[in-house]
């Protein structure tokens, strides 16, 4: 352990500190409690970093698990320890908010393979004393969910009142309802799909190749060698960020406006506001995210194909379920278009599940689920409220 801190720059050091001993609650699982991975391996020991908000009631029936997206983390409703910004879903979660912490006990954990305190490629392998790097096993969305279930066991919670998440978080919600139907009272998958499309895999591959093409990546051993493939990860983030927005949103926000200048410089400077914005997105991302973690988590999404685990028949994933579902999509989301959510809903109908489905009109693209969308708030509030009555949380 002692030699791992050598040659790392200050920002990388902050990131590594979060990976190893995070500003979070941590659940540790020893060699006797391995995480059984889809890859056929056991991960042990391992740890899960998580945050909770609100109070668990005596019956332990008011727990809401929030699942984070690809580059999210457990800091959903508190100041982020690395960036100093407020939680990524602060707009949705809190006292009196749609996911009301006065009413629900909210849990959010960093996914396995992540880099904010749950075991991942930036963690130190206790057996070898070195960073996992590419020796970390490839994980899946199902592995993430399995790990979360172990955390929920640890917290002594039998049934979650609700599991909620967008994008990769939504994939986890769908997987939770399939893997542990009796442990999920209500499920809210937002802006997601039951399988990653070829186009989405293609975008992820561009991102991964950008990381791996950076000479500082060093075959995945950059932590050992004291380098940081920040340019590669930054480009990956820039490309991905475009897919989270929409043409209309980019046009509305930036148009063809110049950045701090009135004429083009006839160079490759960031003349346009949109370029400057993307560069900022890229460079701020590398401050807080581990490049290898990015490879692993994008891979997990690529592998996600829920129907494949059920003989190709999606409805079988939820056959006989008692879970209440509320599926939400956004009109301008071209990463997870409404057609994907509709396919989920058709399968849920075929499984005779209790399902609501709303498509929200917005030009904000995929990222709309993180933004100020009053219609989304009303739907989350209404869905959880009525489920709460059915669960006996409110009289």
């Amino acid at each position: 352990m002692a030699n791992v801190e050598l040659k790392t720059s200050r920002d990388v050091a902050a990131r590594l500190r979060e990976a190893e001993s995070p500003h979070s609650l941590v659940a540790r699982f020893g060699l006797d409690q391995p995480l059984k991975l889809d890859a056929g391996l056991d991960l042990a020991p391992f740890q899960i970093a998580y945050q909770t908000y609100g109070t668990l009631n005596a019956a332990k029936s008011n727990a809401v698990l929030v699942c984070h997206a690809l580059t999210g983390d457990q800091h959903v409703h508190n100041v982020h320890p690395v960036t100093g910004k407020k939680g990524w879903w602060d707009i949705m979660i809190g006292p009196g908010k749609p996911i009301d912490t006065d009413r629900y006990f909210v849990i959010c954990s960093n996914v396995i393979g992540g880099c904010m305190g749950s075991t991942g490629p930036a963690s130190v392998d206790p057996l070898s004393g070195e960073y996992y790097g590419l020796n970390f096993p490839v994980i899946t969305v199902r592995d993430m969910v399995r790990a979360q279930a172990m955390l929920i066991d640890r917290l002594g919670i039998d049934t979650l009142f609700a599991v909620v998440g967008g994008s990769m978080g939504g994939m986890q919600v769908l997987q939770w309802a399939a893997s542990f139907p009796q442990r999920v009272f209500a499920a809210m998958p937002i802006a997601c799909a039951t399988r990653h499309s070829a186009q989405n895999i293609a975008f992820h591959e561009v991102g991964r190749q950008a990381v791996m093409a950076d000479p500082d990546w060093r075959g995945g051993k950059y932590l050992l060698e004291g380098t940081n493939p920040r340019r590669g990860l930054s480009v990956a983030r820039m490309a991905a960020h475009i897919t989270y927005l929409s043409d209309a949103a980019l046009h509305r926000k930036f148009g063809r406006r110049f950045q701090d200048r009135s004429n083009p410089t006839f160079s490759f400077d960031a003349d346009f506001e949109v370029e400057s914005y993307l560069r900022y997105q890229g460079s701020s991302f590398v401050e807080r995210f581990d490049p290898n973690s990015y490879l692993y988590l994008t891979r997990a999404m690529d592998y996600f194909d829920l129907a494949a685990d059920y003989d190709g028949i999606l409805a079988n994933a939820w056959r006989g379920t008692k879970t209440r579902f509320c599926v939400v999509s956004f009109t301008s989301d071209w990463l997870f278009p409404t057609s994907e959510s509709r396919a989920t809903v058709h399968a849920l109908n075929a499984a005779a599940a209790r399902v609501s489905f709303a498509e929200i009109v917005t030009d904000k693209g995929h990222d709309a689920f993180l933004l100020d969308e009053p219609e989304l708030f009303a739907i989350v509030r209404g869905f959880l409220g009525s489920a709460g009555i059915a669960r006996g949380l409110v009289k």
Binding site: R324, C326, V327, R342, V345, H346, N349, A350, A352, R354, V355, S356, F357, A358, E359, I360, V361, E375, A378, I379, R381, G382, F383, G385, S386, A387, I389
Partner: protein, 228 residues
């Protein structure tokens, strides 16, 4: 441009005005008639559920209700009320529902807005053991008179749109609809009609009377012994 009130009702193919019940709560007359036909505690699918008011009424009576609605405004309003409603089209989406998934499948003032009413009706009775269909009656005297003397496609308070603007593309009379039920082998267990003032026609009247004086009719259907 529709104003806010119009938009609310735009999700309904017809715009039956709400009436006030004893509790000061607005309830549509055809909704009350439909609700009366549903056994408490049963499973119901409301096809074309609008903003979910019928489902809400049914849920107060211990019914496990689901809905399909074509308009986004209607769906989002319903979901925000905590109702299990999905955005969908009766003509294309009923096929995804398994056989016998519900006790009742309801189409409240909706079937005349579908492209294939016969197919939709058959699906209803496949998905549910009962179907409840309420229709605006095009055989009503006011409509007959309107066409006879006005010489134009009739517009009434319940059917206010012009012929080129209406979502109601397959109008029928009470007689027409009962013919369709016979044709597909559906059993008519109960039929109710209400007049121009929303009052139920209580007489054990012959069909021609209902067809002339019923402004709306509600049919409770079940599968016949042997279907075609």
């Amino acid at each position: 441009m529709l104003d806010q009130t119009d938009r609310k009702y735009a999700s309904h193919p017809t715009a039956t005005p709400p009436r006030t019940n004893g509790n000061g709560h607005n309830v549509r007359v055809d909704h009350l008639l439909v609700a009366e036909m549903v056994a408490p505690g049963s499973r119901v699918l409301d096809v074309g559920c609008g903003d979910g008011e019928l489902l809400r009424l049914l849920e107060t009576r211990g019914v496990d209700g689901r809905g399909i609605e074509i308009s986004r405004e209607g769906v989002n309003a319903s979901v925000a009320k905590g109702l299990a409603v999905v955005q969908g089209d009766a003509d294309t989406d009923l096929v995804d529902y398994p056989d016998d998934a519900f006790d009742y499948v309801i189409m409240s003032q909706t079937i005349q807005a579908t492209r294939h009413p016969r197919l939709v009706l058959e699906h209803m009775l496949r998905i549910g053991s009962h179907g409840i269909v309420s229709i605006p009656n095009f055989g009503h005297w006011s409509i007959r008179l309107g066409l006879l003397f006005g010489g134009r496609m009739p517009r009434t308070k319940n059917l206010p749109n012009t012929w080129y603007d209406t979502q109601n593309i397959h109008f029928c009379t009470i007689k027409d609809f009962s013919d369709l039920c016979k044709e597909i082998g559906a059993k008519m267990e109960r039929v109710e009609a209400v007049n121009f003032w929303g009052k139920r026609l209580r007489l054990p009247a012959p069909w021609w009377f209902w067809n002339l004086f019923g402004e709306q009719a509600v049919f409770l259907l079940s599968r016949g012994k042997k279907r075609g």
